[in-house]
Symmetry: C2
Subunit: 381 residues, 2 copies
């Protein structure tokens, strides 16, 4: 086997961590001795073993690790967080060489890790394979983005008809997309740290915003914007067991706070203006105080309009179902901004788009500003 | 070479006739002698040679036709129209056998043709290859549909953004789709007998509704619904050289009719109600009096709404461009019906959909009722 195939094997491990490791990045590692993979590992749930530790633990005989090479998709950590530093484990087990796909884009982290390892006699080298580096990077684009901008990576997802409608005039949207598309939505939810819906959607649809349809080891945090305490006590985001973080105004009623506490949910106070949050402020806080890398926003048209106008959306996932509703004037369009847009030239052009067929539907994904995202790679060796 | 490959060669010829032969169906023929193709032909422009005649004429030596086999995609005609009957040409040239892919779905035609040929000693057989028969059929679905239902096959085409908009609130739509998509639109226009736009679109956009971008040998008829004589004398559908058929009310002004005649255009009177035509009546008349098999309708939202409500659309071609406009409340949606639709379950589900990438856009096509279209094939042997 070749160097490239070992890197691919480490990437395959990283893929297994997706949706499990959050808010830790999805990382994979393989350990190679005499040109053979002797162990594999990936990041486990938050607070449990990182990929490097898992790979070391998974080795049949720890003596074999001596003088071995570790292929890992991200710079090994050098700090004690919920777990001991990975650099220490590597050094302690006398691994001789580490081949890294993505540099941590916090320069303090990757420089310190490099220094530790080299000082202990471990050779540190970086992958030259652009394709693998890109794949590893895209798996954790939200982590890299938050590291750099101190803002969560925001994903907007909606399902619309072939005539551009996400609901009838009276809010019916069940179901525009196929079962397969809904299942895919749940696997996308799982990829990200948090799930959010707008107040109107929470009131109208009373969604669970949790993971169903697919097996999962964690529940993304539900972010519930409710600037005017409108949500009734029987809202599912109160009563179901998954974690919820309510965004409330500066003076929530005692009854409302009691309701939150009673259900073992969390809340955070933010100032409002005409009953609207400033979502840039909210997101900054969620990134720094809650370590949230990414938020998967599922509509409706008002919250999309607010986030679109504030230029806070980074990526779109749009399902298109082969339905025609008609009723162009009354049915609900995906995104409602508060001003009239005069020219098609003013429209946003999504970049790096991709399309796939999911059941009877199409799923189109695209970035608002892929250059900014791609530039995060300049931190990657 | 095998029987199937000769049938495929005949189909390939038929494809060459697409957009040329209208309103005649696109038909191809090859003549085979000693297991070799000795001649090929396809239907030419309306009034010129049919495929069978072209294939006979293209033979290097007419003596070789004796005892040859002709593979043809549609029942040879047996009547004198603009050209002499194809059955006569086959008999006169002593072709021994005819293998047909699609039976003409006018039973009077195919029975009579069969009888003529058999009586003259020509063996008539039908293809057993479903795939080829289906391909030949789909090439002429509009012709078969009009034969059966005495209504033109109606195609709705629009280009929308990823948030379901075909124009800004003030009508700007230049350009939602890419140059490649617009070029594709012109090749689609050419496939069909006629092109139509709604009155609002004609007034706002002053479109040419002709073929540009691509080479072409004919100009589809432009159908111009103008129930209240609103179009100004400098409208391009008046002044440009391609044929236009104006649909006018029962009492058009003399000045308006003069305008039509001066520009060498045609008109047809229809009764109106609140300044609207009954398009079912209009289309029936266009099918019978004008021999129009198909109309390619290019919007806007009002005419689509009218045709959608009247259940007159047979097929959709929808371009989706990777743009996000926002402004869900004000920007123009593709289809506007005059009633509020309460439930997603009431939405039309397109059938036999297909998707392709055209430049930076997607092109989705689908049928409103594919079963009805497919049932036309029961006339196909």
């Amino acid at each position: 086997m070749s160097d490239i195939s070992f890197q691919k094997a480490a990437y395959a491990q990283a893929c297994l961590a997706r949706g499990i490791s959050n808010p830790n990045p999805a990382v994979g590692a393989v350990i190679v001795k005499n040109n053979k993979i002797i162990s594999r590992g990936h990041t486990s749930v938050y607070g449990a073993a990182h990929a490097e530790v898992a790979a070391v633990k998974n080795a049949a005989n720890s003596k074999h690790l001596q003088n071995a090479t570790m292929y890992v998709t991200l710079t090994p950590c050098c700090f004690t967080g919920k777990t001991p530093p990975c650099t220490d484990i590597i050094i302690k087990n006398k691994i001789k060489k580490v081949v890294i796909a993505n540099k941590d884009n916090n320069p303090a982290v990757y420089r310190k890790s490099e220094k530790y390892l080299r000082r202990a006699g471990v050779t540190v080298s970086y992958s030259f394979n652009k394709e693998i580096k890109k794949k590893c990077f895209l798996l954790n684009e939200d982590f890299f983005y938050k590291n750099k901008y101190k803002l969560p990576f925001i994903i907007a997802k909606y399902a619309m008809t072939l005539d551009g409608k996400i609901a009838t005039y009276n809010g019916d949207s069940k179901w525009i997309s196929s079962v397969a598309a809904r299942r895919k939505t749940h696997s996308l939810r799982l990829h990200y740290d948090a799930i959010m819906a707008g107040t109107n959607t929470l009131l109208k649809d009373n969604p669970l915003l949790n993971i169903r349809y697919i097996r999962h080891k964690r529940s993304p945090l539900r972010i519930i914007p409710d600037a005017s305490n409108k949500l009734p006590p029987d809202a599912k985001v109160f009563t179901s067991r998954e974690p919820s973080l309510f965004l409330v105004n500066q003076n929530p009623s005692p009854a409302y706070l009691e309701q939150i506490k009673k259900n073992n949910k969390q809340y955070m106070k933010f100032s409002t203006r005409n009953n609207f949050f400033n979502f840039k402020t909210v997101f900054k806080k969620l990134a720094t105080a809650y370590n949230i890398n990414s938020i998967f926003v599922e509509g409706g048209s008002r919250i999309f309009g607010t986030l679109f106008t504030a230029n806070l959306i980074n990526k779109y996932y749009i399902f298109i179902a082969p339905r025609i509703l008609g009723d162009g004037k009354n049915a609900v369009s995906p995104i409602t901004v508060s001003k009239k847009i005069k020219s098609i030239k003013a429209a946003l052009v999504l970049q790096n788009t991709a399309v796939q067929t999911i059941g009877t539907d199409l799923l189109i994904e695209g970035y608002v500003d892929f250059k900014t995202i791609a530039n995060l790679q300049k931190y990657i060796a």
